[in-house]
Assembly symmetry: C2
Homo-oligomer: 468 residues x 2
């Protein structure tokens, strides 16, 4: 009985509790069934499912379908698809869909959306197409959207809704409630009422729950929070997200340069920003510039190429370093066999440290106040693990090649390289961050280049000195 | 004028707008000043700052201080520190602080916290210490906390607050508002009113803004949303976070096995979960099991050791593979010099693909419906980039060693390894996910082992066949 209530539109028998995927909205089976129905041209079951799905699930369904089936779906059930779906769909797929539409159609979708979603759809269009769509919009919508587009991408201005509830300080709760009951043009959802002075500058805020608990005669002034976080319209969205997290905000007022209230941001938009920013860090650390799962083959090939090219250059550098020791390796071929181990361990130790550093910089736990302390700690950790692995690999090499001195050489090289890895893994992200370069993008290439080169040079260099 | 309003407790001249760090709460300078005052034993300026800081900022301050200074801070201004700080502080540091406190002191802190925060502090204690603290708590608090602790860590039961607003279906808005005005024991913050049947099963929900806009005579039944997401108390927090994101929820009802309302979860707790889960993926991909920035030296060394040990084993495996070709390398030492390039490029291409795959699995964009399509795309992308880099490195090797056949050998090995990297980078995370193994933890080691070994074997093997 309760199981059923979890489901939107999937009326089959409830799947077992263990299968989380099945409990909510769309299931993998739904997608398969829709794909089959599209193949067979059965319109009714498709229209039935589309009509019942939550927009977020419908967006997922569209993402999961093949490109051919997507087009078919819009032909068969386009009239049932809520325009809001366009704001939920993955960017690459949205671009594909929008490409097939003419400006009038896009404009029809855009007018149905909330401001931030409308802007989201429009901001990805080519400048020219954007203008074509804007021309098709009613004057009022166009003005508001153009205003929003005039703010920087990724700024508070793009995130905010323009509708807010603002009441003067001298009102009481009764007046406020009557105002809410009488006004039609209110934001879709809001969690607090802003109190403003005659210049429309925010002076306080009343959470809705507090307003509801108060008697009608209570003055707004007496129950409002005077401390509030005001978001400048040009603030970067990452900064806005930080504020929401740090101070556990449900919503916040956005102000213009002169400090007047011009909009508000709610926490549900921030959830998306947090996800985007975390995704950016994950992808950048992995050497990918954007989420290209749904990207075209050529687009994906091109964006990955750049990072691989950088890597090729660093790999060639490392090979040049190895080349200086070709005479040594010719004499003792065991060195060539063991050589990758030191570099690989350094690379991994460096990656561990830089991952912690990049994350700590993003969450502002690593600052100028504690960086030397933490750098010192990393050096000690690196030295301890370096020593442990030096002993391990030294023994392995000694037994493998029956030569104690090879064991000593690789052990010393291991300590050196892991120490360098630990220090570089922490210092490089800090330095990049200091110079306002995103440490998630660039740290990895710097650190692994260093650990590769130091790894090879330390091992082969010490071997040349000791063994020849 | 407006600038000042952004600040909590930092009364100096507002720093320039560009310096985001300065705009809010605590600055790096605040930390330095506090550290100096603690050094000098100046109590007044410390107490002044502590009294004015937001708890979240105070938690940051404590994190930033040296361990010695932390203890001093509690001695000098402990009475001004809101217990809530304990729920905001990094786990390792909290453990240190709590270790110095006796059960009565911890109990005093815990009683002041909201349920989810209290549980957060208690769940990290050793079983025995936990019992000691629980014994010191008032019976009522103890029962509620014990109940909460009985749910799995990372389950909805741990996240939820037990206080909710629930009204019967037959009430009207006027009765609801009067009830809110008359009841003292309400949750701290809430965004919706739950409507329940006589068995206390949720049947609908009214967002607060809608309640406020409605006339007193309107029936609850007529304006409630009948569709709502009910969260089973044992649902994993990652799943809960997914629901909140997918359906843009501000709060949701938590139900027990029989479907009765027993609590609610609000979006601010979900923001923390989203962060935790994203952090987990980032760290695991980097080979770190937890955020150890503030961890002890020995603890950090130990947790990093495991991953490095796995890496050592795979590196030795790769060396064994190389060892089979020592005769070939002895004859053509250029092979030893070039050997790391193919492996390194494969490793990076594999990491790119697996990063996209891990992320897409986490966001549920990669499913059984599209995995073959996407695997096919990755293979083509890998082949295209493999060919591009084969041509590049082939030319470089030819010119460098003046030997066209070495150029051919490395080019062919490059295409082979990058193709393997692309396919493995996508297939391995999918396979791990299928067998319920976290792809973020294990993918990287599998993929790089494969690309290392295939890289070395393809290059040296083809060389042995062609050049000898």
């Amino acid at each position: 009985m309760n199981e059923l209530r979890f489901q939107d539109g999937n009326e089959e028998a409830a799947p077992p509790r263990e299968d989380d995927e099945g409990l909510y909205g769309m299931t993998d089976t739904t997608v398969q069934e829709i794909a089959e129905s599209l193949e067979l041209g059965q319109e009714d079951p498709i229209r039935e499912v589309v009509a019942e799905l939550h927009t977020a699930d419908l967006a997922d369904l569209i993402e999961q379908l093949k490109s051919k089936h997507r087009t078919l779906l819009f032909e068969v059930a386009g009239d049932l698809i809520d325009p809001e779906v366009f704001s939920e769909i993955d960017e690459s797929i949205r671009d594909d869909l929008v490409e097939d539409m003419d400006p009038t159609e896009i404009a029809a979708v855009v007018t149905e959306l909330e401001l931030d979603d409308a802007v989201h759809v429009l901001e990805d269009l080519e400048e020219e197409d954007q203008q074509d769509v804007l021309r098709e919009l009613p004057a009022e919508d166009r003005l508001v959207i153009e205003q929003s587009l005039s703010y920087d991408e990724d700024s508070a201005g793009r995130l905010m809704q323009r509708d807010t509830i603002a009441v003067p300080e001298y009102w009481n709760i009764g007046q406020t409630i009557d105002y809410l009951r009488d006004t039609q043009d209110l934001p879709n959802e809001f969690y607090e009422i802003f109190v403003v002075d005659p210049r429309h500058h925010p002076v306080g805020t009343i959470p809705l729950d507090r307003a509801m608990r108060s008697q009608r005669t209570v003055n707004v002034r007496d129950i409002m929070n005077r401390e509030q976080k005001l978001i400048p319209v040009d603030m970067d969205q990452e900064e806005v997200a930080y504020l929401f997290q740090q101070y556990r905000l449900a919503s916040a007022a956005v102000v213009n340069e002169s400090g007047a209230l011009i909009g508000m941001i709610t926490v549900d938009d921030i959830v998306d920003v947090i996800n985007e920013e975390a995704e950016e860090d994950i992808l950048r650390l992995g050497g990918v510039s954007e989420d290209d799962l749904f990207g075209s083959i050529m687009g994906t090939t091109r964006t990955r190429f750049t990072w691989l090219l950088v890597n090729l250059l660093t790999a060639v550098l490392a090979s040049i370093a190895i080349g200086f020791f070709d005479a040594t390796m010719e004499k003792i071929i065991a060195l060539a066999v063991l050589m990758p181990i030191v570099a690989s361990m350094g690379g991994n130790a460096g990656t561990q440290t830089l991952t912690v550093a990049v994350r700590a910089l993003a969450t502002r736990e690593l600052t100028s106040n504690n960086m030397f302390r933490i750098l010192g700690k990393e050096a000690i950790v690196a030295f301890l693990n370096g020593t442990a692995f030096a002993i391990l690999i030294g023994l392995v090499a000694w037994i493998w090649f029956g030569d104690l001195s090879i064991g000593w050489v690789i052990a010393v090289a291991m300590v050196v390289n892991m120490l360098v890895a630990g220090v570089a893994g922490m210092a490089i992200p800090i330095a990049l961050d200091h110079y306002k370069i995103d440490p998630a993008v660039a740290s990895s290439v710097f650190v692994t280049t260093i650990t590769d080169i130091i790894g090879f040079v330390a091992f082969l260099g010490i071997a040349t000195l000791v063994l020849l």
